[in-house]
Amino acid sequence: MNDLYHPRSVAIRKTVVENEARDIKTFELVFLDQEEREKFKFSCGQFAMLSVAGAGESPIGIASSPLDDEYLQFTVKRYPTGVVTTALHSLEEGSEIGVRGPYGNFYPLKAMEDKNIVIVGGGFAFTTLRSTIRYLLHDKNRSRFRDITVLYGARSPGELIYKSELKQWEERDDVNMYVTVDKGEEDWKGRVGLVPNILSEVAPSSENSIALVCGPPIMLKYTMPPLLDLGFSPERIITSLERRMSCGIGKCGRCNIGSKYICKDGPVFTYKELRELPEAAI
């Protein structure tokens, strides 16, 4: 119990710059002590505190799948005012950082079995959805879920993340991929349009379906009405929230909305739960 706030040591094995603006990077981390990786049991949708000694800690969603058992991946956007994200981005491969977690609840993977899954993501908030997609599409799991539809959008083609993976998924015939950008560019041959509009166009059936939605607050806000129109009930719409956090374990009081702590009772909430919170969450 000594180690409640102590991060575990990990090494940055690989970094991938995800976007044209070069402010979104995926960090592949390996535990220095393999036993710690085995103890780090997580599910899709959970987050961890990433720790850079001297800069501090930040809560970041886990982007790898629980089945990626050799490493953990986190996709982090650097903000000029973000002390930890800036420090992280300046680190070279091989550097040592800390991981504390996993924390929070997760997407209802069990309840999603034998159902059609509609995944709607926007911008760099696609990370825990990417973890989920990797998990669902894994050979061991795919047969347990019915139709899988993924709608993912970014501001511009250069801002789409996980590009090579998006391509792989598009080539598969067991997942319906829709990738869109708000604003196209000359050589962009894909869809152009805002995520909520494309969602209405694609109109995935709500029958026996669950929708997972994660994106910037504005996208979340405008994605709820089309989902409701398509017949998704609020308890079948699952979202993930973000708030500033310090402890990640429901003590520091920072991510409190109503009687809930985003870190502990969330970050995953149904739209029904969100609507019952007093303070606007999205």
């Binding site: 501090g56 800690e57 903000y79 402890c247 429901g250 520091c252 409190n256």
Partner: protein, 345 residues
């Protein structure tokens, strides 16, 4: 003392307290209210002479004995980690003459720091290693309202011992836990309370309770707050507030904190500091987005957290009625008035 003789209620002569504390001081570090430069605060003492018995309440709460305003949790490089947690307390402690309201606040903090899922070792070790010797309030202040939020000037809850000044050179002492009995056993000049001592105790208790003039109606407050989240009342009540956060720093139940790093050439320390929901930076995200955009939202958060959210989560109001926020607010904000306004809304 015969075996099996239960020490429950005793009388201690005022002049014997020094000797008793001296004895206890061999095994415990004793913290007591001390008046320095006109300010009453809890300090470690080496002699009973230092104890300021006539205090109303300490300016700051003794919560920082359990949850310090600033503390180093650990440092990097991490070889140094292990020893640090183990040496949080050098010696078991006694908080001597803690007020019943402040003792009650610790029980509320226990819910947060000693929750079923995550136990905070820093807090818990200090809490378990500390005995609470209460001093009943015979002179509650104008700003006190403990009796409206489930407490009282003579409330015994969460104490190991409760002492009450009978005013005639004697203290009536009641042991409330086995550990409290253990402290009393260290005193070899205890007397049995007489009928007139008990009568005196009942009388001063009643008088003290009467002196807590503020009567807040908190019944139904939680439900009422559910309904007025979007009320224009919040536009009004925050107007005077400067957002200085003193109410949260002096509040015995406020527990928000920030973890951050400080470094020098040799090492990095991860530090835990008190933080406050009244500060704009409290909820600002790296992107610059701030979900609680103005003082209105922050004031609402403070009131809702104490009288609604905490109640829903832990079943108790996160206010013990100590009145410190009222006494120290630079613009005379008064939580009692805010609650009254909410009730009338």
């Amino acid at each position: 003392m015969r075996k099996g003789d239960r020490l429950k209620e005793k009388i201690i002569q005022k002049e014997q307290i020094g000797k008793w504390l001296e004895k206890l001081g061999k095994d415990y570090e004793i913290w007591a209210p001390v008046k320095r430069n006109g300010l009453v605060l809890f300090h470690p003492i080496s002699s009973a002479k230092e104890v300021y018995f006539n205090f109303l309440n300490s300016k700051k709460t003794p919560k920082d004995l359990f949850f310090p305003q600033s503390e180093v949790l650990f440092s990097f490089p991490k070889e140094e980690i292990e020893k640090e947690v183990e040496t949080i307390l050098q010696k078991p402690r006694i908080v001597f003459a803690i007020r019943p309201c402040d003792a009650r606040s610790l029980a509320l903090l226990d819910q947060v720091f000693d929750s079923e899922d995550y136990q905070d070792p820093y807090y818990i070790e200090r809490r378990e290693g500390t005995l609470l010797v209460g001093l009943a309030c015979t002179h509650p202040q104008q700003s006190c309202f403990c009796t409206s939020v489930g407490g009282g000037p003579f409330a015994k809850a969460h104490l190991d011992l409760l002492m009450a000044d009978l005013g005639d050179g004697k203290y009536f002492v009641e042991a409330l836990t086995e550990r409290g009995e253990g402290l009393l056993e260290k005193n070899d000049s205890l007397q049995e309370p007489q009928k007139k001592d008990r009568e005196k105790l009942a009388k001063i208790k009643e008088e003290a309770e009467e002196k807590v003039k503020s009567k807040l109606v908190t019944k139904g407050l939680e439900k009422k707050l559910d309904k007025i989240f979007d009320s224009s009342l919040w536009d009004r009540v925050h107007q005077r507030c400067l957002g200085c956060g003193i109410c949260t720093y002096l509040c015995p139940t406020c527990h928000c904190f920030a973890l951050l790093d400080e470094k020098d050439k040799a090492r990095v320390e991860r530090i835990r500091n008190w933080d406050s929901c009244m500060f704009p930076e409290f909820t600002v995200e790296a992107s610059g987005h701030n979900p609680r955009i103005s003082n209105r939202e922050r004031m609402r958060q403070r009131v809702m957290h104490k009288f609604n959210y905490f109640v829903e989560r832990y079943g108790e109001t996160a206010c013990v009625g100590c009145g410190r926020c009222i006494q120290s607010c630079p613009v005379n904000m008064d939580i009692r008035e805010i609650i009254e306004e909410i009730r009338n809304e």
